[in-house]
Amino acid sequence: MEKKVTGQIVHKDGKYLLNVAGKVETLPVGLLTDKKFLDEHVGKEVEVLYSIPTSFVVAIKATRPPVIKGPIGLCNVPRPDFLKGEGFVTQPSEAVARNLATALLKEGIITQDVHDTIVNSYALQAGT
């Protein structure tokens, strides 16, 4: 069953806070998302993503539907226009991906070595 959780971003005393049904927690700038995004969404409702099965805020994002239409494969062959990235974006944000890696490490799903490999790939990509 779909579990969509939304909350509101609050800016108070120099801090960014996330209010989900009255429960407030601090959002560290930079870990989950950047300051520009937070400034743009203060007072607005955002969707909150929790890693399952442990509740761990992975990221917040402005609610928007995916734009891809149709399956991304023909039998076991990828639909090439999907991989070519024509007309749509499907890659989750770097913030989500990075925090997933952290969550997976914390839960013991991946090792520190695998976590470091993943994180290093983002650093190397940034330098590409």
């Binding site: 928007r64 891809i68 749509f88 989750p92 991906a97 799903i109 991946i110 983002y122």
Partner: protein, 362 residues
């Protein structure tokens, strides 16, 4: 650049020729996957021998230009065996791109070193097998110890080089429970989507059916996971490519999963060229329709009796199915039936075996 397509006699109901082709560049492979369905992997299918025989670089180029003269080729998926075992892969990729065609590399991911990725990049697109977040499970399915570590390294190399990649998860009894965290791992590695494929039976892997074939309940559990993944991590796309027949699992309730069906040899099909130029309806089919060295692809597509039968076949077991579902599913994978039963006139063996499993006392 499109090449004019020759005019041949074609059924009025059939659209134009396909634009997607699979080139099996080699029979060689560094894995021995339990779920392998390649036609040459099973002697009983009588596929022509010479496992190391493959087209030369020049022949590959010639075949590509041959196809371009007959069909509006826009995309070529490079497969095998394992295509990265070919040292001339960068040259082939460059040739394809210079022809204005988009290549996709279907790989087990274990040979994606930094150097190989750099050589195959420039808009590189990859489909990479990732069957579990647990190394020993992935290795068991791949038939090779240490495979998982190489795959993770390979996917990280693709990601750091800015390549686009999708993870391919083949669902079996051995790994279905790992799907959720495996998808999360794929997301963390920068994948754009996940192809979920329940094992597609063939003559080779049929012997492992008891060990591998997931039950309908397991498939249902996986679809629930995929729905959660699709809802939680959008815009990451989850897609079911190998058909899940609606009579096995009711798929209609899922809003965040994209379901695909066999294009049945029509315009949206991907005809397959094997390592020596033989043509088949798809890479699961064991039936050779002709060879690009001697036959025109256009004649095969429009006039070969087997292709016509492939398009029109409706298994007898599906006669009483709901019309809406029947028109979409059309008996599932004909190629799997061909491999397992020697005829495409029977329903996909996945349906038959799933029903048998469901009827057994628990």
């Amino acid at each position: 650049m499109r090449v004019p397509v020759e005019t041949v006699t074609r059924p009025d109901s059939l659209g134009g020729m396909p634009s997607i082709f699979v080139f099996e560049l080699t029979r060689r492979c560094n894995h021995r996957c339990l779920y392998c369905y390649t036609a040459w992997g099973e002697p009983s299918l009588g596929y022509p021998a010479s496992p190391r025989e493959e087209m030369s670089t020049a022949e590959v180029k010639e075949f590509i230009d041959n196809l371009r003269s007959q069909a509006p080729v826009e995309y070529i998926a490079l497969s095998g065996g394992e295509p990265l075992l070919r040292e001339d892969l960068p040259e082939i990729l460059a040739f394809i791109r210079n022809r204005g065609i988009t290549p996709v590399i279907i790989t087990n991911g274990t040979l994606l070193t930094k150097e190989r990725v750099a050589a195959s990049m420039v808009g590189g697109c990859y489909e990479i097998s990732l069957h579990s977040y647990r190394a020993h499970v992935h290795d068991r399915m791949s038939g090779r110890d240490g495979a998982w570590n190489k795959v993770i390294e390979g996917m990280a190399n693709v990601h750091s080089a800015g390549g686009r990649q999708m993870a391919a998860f083949v669902a079996t009894k051995l790994n279905y429970m790992d799907l959720f965290h495996t998808a999360e791992l794929a997301i963390s590695l920068g994948c754009w989507g996940m192809l979920y494929n329940r094992i597609n039976l063939g003559s080779y892997n049929l012997r492992y059916a008891d060990e591998l074939l997931p039950t309908p309940a397991m498939i249902q559990e996986n679809l629930d996971m995929l729905e959660e993944i699709g809802a939680t991590y959008a815009p990451f796309v989850v897609s079911v490519a190998i058909v899940i027949e609606p009579c096995v699992v009711d798929i209609r309730k899922y809003k965040h999963i994209y379901f695909g069906y066999c294009p049945k040899g029509g315009t949206n099909s991907y005809f397959t060229i094997d390592p020596v130029g033989n043509v088949r309806t798809c890479n699961h089919s064991p039936v050779i329709l002709g060879n690009l060295k001697t036959d025109r692809f256009s004649n095969i597509f429009y006039q070969h009796p087997y292709v016509r039968q492939f398009r029109e076949t409706m298994p007898a077991e599906c006669a009483d199915c709901e019309p809406e579902l029947k028109s979409i599913c059309r008996g599932g994978c004909d190629a799997a039936a061909e491999q397992c039963y020697g005829t495409a006139n029977r329903v996909d063996p996945f349906v038959t075996l799933s029903r048998q499993a469901s009827s057994k006392p628990s």
